[in-house]
Symmetry: C3
Subunit: 433 residues, 3 copies
């Protein structure tokens, strides 16, 4: 990938974030539909609809919600707060209201983030019947009239939960699950970044030879993941590896959160990629994005999470400050590249059996070794050949070899290809460990 293409790709990612950002998403409703339409330009997307009221696992699919507008006005008609600039103004899933209220009555419905008082907080109440407005501290303090007129013009009623699903079949039935949430409104990093990176990753994967099958999910958080799991319980066993992609555009370094298992191949692949790109590794925690659902005890799917600065730890998190200025083209590209490197390791990982296991085979007569012995240079390829031969007893994968030898995975995989071509290895489909 040349430097020019790289710059173009970073810009394409950023432009897509820019297109997604103003869409007024919520858990359900037209914002999610519009978001999936945009994504469908990049990948062959199926849109799945689940009616409100459907029982999914322990939950019930909520009503659909559509916000038209919301405002607070003085009794003489001056709008002091409205949704013209951002839908963050209205508590998500607010029921309709149109009333003149006393100031104290109104304040019961006003949300401010004490930790980020200068920004509009992002708040929702999916499963309560209430309404509210989100303000900065200064805006709240300025509400000094005795009475205000408030209006939330919204529908909340039966409809559908929708999510997008993309399947890119490989030669193997083993699947990689890649998931991102599409339910947050005008927040750029959380999660226009994840949507954009996954959409372009999908386009690029679709253009390649694939051993693994890739399943990309664009889901409303929690209930969307649960709805997918509910519908796919029988298929869940095929998920060999998974990654939740979220919050991947901010300027901070990469972070990878391990699966609950902790040492699954996806964890070990990420451990080879993320620290080498300046990022860090975190242990699993049940507080996060949809990896919570995938890692639940009834499923235990091996799903890690790739983010940059972890959710909840940056001041812009879940506020109006998470806007387009907070997201960087270079960060988006770095996240996409890290994902591709991780997937490349998972694609290339395999377990082999050395077919000449009694001592070393004579590499020289197979053209795999320089003819003149005694030279100092122990080229990486020579070392990789010897490591693969030594370790390939049908129980250790190339990831194991790379980890133990300290060699780059690519060098180990290259050596395995040479040895396979030379008839010195056979692939073991069901390794005994």
């Amino acid at each position: 990938m040349g430097a020019v293409n790289t710059l173009e790709l970073a810009q394409e990612l950023y432009d897509l974030v820019g297109e997604l950002y103003p869409v007024r998403r919520s858990l359900t409703g037209p914002g999610v539909r519009r978001t999936l339409e945009i994504v469908a330009r990049y990948v062959p997307l199926d849109v799945v609809e689940v009616p409100s009221g459907t029982q999914v696992l322990d939950w019930t699919v909520p009503d659909e919600w559509e916000l038209r507008e919301g405002w607070i006005a003085t009794t003489d008609g001056v709008r002091v707060v409205d949704t013209s600039a951002t839908s963050l103004r209205v508590l998500g899933y607010s029921v309709p209201v149109h009333a003149v209220l006393r100031r104290d009555e109104l304040l019961d419905h006003v949300h401010v983030d004490p930790a980020a008082p200068e920004h509009i907080p992002y708040r929702t109440a999916y499963y309560d019947r209430t309404w509210g407005f989100c303000l900065t501290q200064r805006e709240r303090a300025a509400l000094s009239d005795d009475r205000y007129e408030v209006r939330v013009d919204a529908d909340r009623g039966p409809g559908h939960l929708i999510y997008g699903e993309v399947v890119l079949p490989g030669t193997s039935e083993a699947e990689v699950l890649l998931s991102t949430h599409v339910c947050h409104p005008e927040l750029a990093n959380d999660n226009c970044s994840g949507i954009a990176v996954l959409a372009l990753l999908g386009r690029r994967l679709a253009a390649r030879d694939r051993r693994l099958t890739y399943r990309l999910l664009f889901l409303p958080g929690t209930i969307g993941a649960l709805a997918w799991l509910h519908a796919n319980r029988a298929r869940a066993g095929r998920i060999a590896h998974g990654l939740v992609v979220a919050g991947v555009g901010d300027p901070g370094p990469l972070t990878y959160q391990r699966t609950v298992h902790g040492a699954h191949p996806v964890d070990r692949a990420a451990a080879m990629v993320v620290p080498a790109r300046g990022g860090s590794l975190l242990d699993f925690s049940p507080w996060g994005y949809d990896e919570r659902q995938f890692n639940a005890p009834g499923f235990r799917l091996p799903v890690g999470r790739l983010s940059r600065t972890p959710h909840g730890t940056y001041p812009e998190y879940h506020t109006s400050a998470d806007d387009l200025s907070f997201v960087q083209p270079a960060s988006l590209l770095d996240s996409l590249t890290a994902l591709e490197e991780i997937l490349s390791i998972l694609e290339g990982d395999a377990t082999y059996r050395n077919l000449a296991p009694y001592g070393e085979p004579q590499l020289g007569r197979r053209g795999l070794y320089a003819g003149i012995g005694g030279e100092r240079d122990q080229a990486e390829v020579k070392l990789a050949l010897l490591w693969v031969l030594n370790q390939s007893d049908g129980t250790r994968s190339l990831l194991d070899v790379a980890q133990r030898s300290g060699l780059p995975f690519a060098a180990v995989a290259h050596a395995a290809r040479l040895l396979l071509d030379a008839g010195l290895l056979e692939r073991v489909e069901r390794p005994q460990r």
Copy 2:
């Protein structure tokens, strides 16, 4: 427990040490009987008697020994050393003697501790037929006459080994073994401190609801533990956790010595409590108190040891300097509190199965979650709920959850109770690990 009660409890512990201190204990005899009478004021104590000569495991119960007095006098009748102040003066289990001896003959029977020459050492000879006196270096040097009259007025003959046993039944048959040694004479830390702490711990446990059954043993060291094990081989399998309590009154920090297993629940509970109180953890060593017997290969009972400064590493150890001034009320209380905290973890530890394991259950509709989503505060209780749900697959205990999550055990146990009450967990009696 309020501050006043705390001070009162510390004083009560110290006063009990003060009452126990002057009792002239040995391996057998009236001192042990008197000690058990004092303990019986606090806990419902059974006194078990084992006749001299009884074979217990590889050992034989020794004769009973009663010391009336012992002295060294000049030939004109001036007593230069006698037992009026402390029975430490006479080698434990000395056979009777009354003779006039040459200075060199006497010196063969005089013990001095070269490492603590200014103090009277504590020495015994349970299984030899000999006699002796324990002196300071200065006292020994002052023996300048040619001849001395010596007298040990003692009985050593058939009788009984006795020990005290307390059972506080719980709702479960699983037992916690708590053991302390009662065979050391006028030594305050080793082990009036252990006896006092265990007596008051027993009184407090008796007043509580108990899941576990508690078995408290007040034993002469080694032979007492072996006698109990001999009589209870069939019951030993019920011992789920154990602690030897000894040397718990000195001013040093706590030390916990692991069981031979090393990662048993009692070890892991102690690892949560002792370092948090400024103490340290030691690996098992077969040199110590009765945990040696309980951890022997034929039993392998999971018995750790709580002490403060480890035996043998403080200069007062096994000398007359281990007196009431060496023991601190605050240290006794700290030891008792640490024990109660460890036992509280063992009481609360259990393994559960998440009954809604397919993704997260909807905590909100069960009142376990704030209704307004998106807020920053990830309260400990919320996190604990999620951790317990995620980890409770029937193989991991609450101790496992606390250890992995880094949350306090109490928070994890509280979350488990909330989830149990909400019908989201069931208890697993025989976890598969």
Copy 3:
């Protein structure tokens, strides 16, 4: 071993290196025969011959090679390079040549080590049909004539690969494999040092009582090890421990490279010996000496390697600078002593079952314990007795006990002998782990 004997032994080792050094060894031929004749003065050596062309595992035994002389001369007969000082001058296994060549034709056959340009490099071409000369950079630069006469007077034709094998039977069939390579020409550390140390080690082992059987191999590198493995596949299962000995005379500290298993008894024994002598431990790598063959997946023999400075990491490596001035008598002796200490641990290692496992047995009545209790001194032997008793449940070896207790292996082994003599232990021949 007294100081005088120690000095004599160090000198004897060095003198043997000095005798081996000028022998012109190659993979096959008279140099190996002469080397084995020297070794046979120290140990009862069988010489095994394998005809050229024999298939051994994946390889074919090469033709025999004998170099008589080689030189480069000006067209007027002045020899500018010749083999009078060292056979390193000629590329090992060069085919005969006698011709007058243009300078550029000659330079195609000249080898220089760019990393050590001032020394003659050691180069071979066992499996190619070519010829060559090895020069310093300065010598190469001085080849300024248009034409040179070159001569390699050598035979390369059917013959035999030979290696030396010594068996020192013990009371057990379990074998220790000790191997060193004999195929390098005039290089002192690599590997006259290994040959000398193994020869004297063999002489000393032959004079001792042995539980284990020792099999010493003096092999041409790679093909020799493969030939032995080929002929001994059925017997390979008897190899309980193994060590390759190579590069053990240079002034650097000891290094032990672990078996591929990594925690085999030989690895654990070396870990007790080598760091205590100032050396270091390395993980297995498939780039090295014949441990590569022994650790191959078809055999997985537990063979570690003892060296000093690792091969390939010192500037003298595989050059004419690896001469007698590079090898130190003290280093040779230190290597021999380390080997003897490792073997002594392997000889003494065993698994026992405590026959009085219910608590501690009464050591006092068996004379294993001082009669007067309460003394401070916890002598190493007392502690070792208690550790062996506590750990000997039929699953843990004395190596395990030494490792866990931190006691010297010799103290643990001594305690085990005392307990065995007292009837308190029985040996477990096939431990369950």
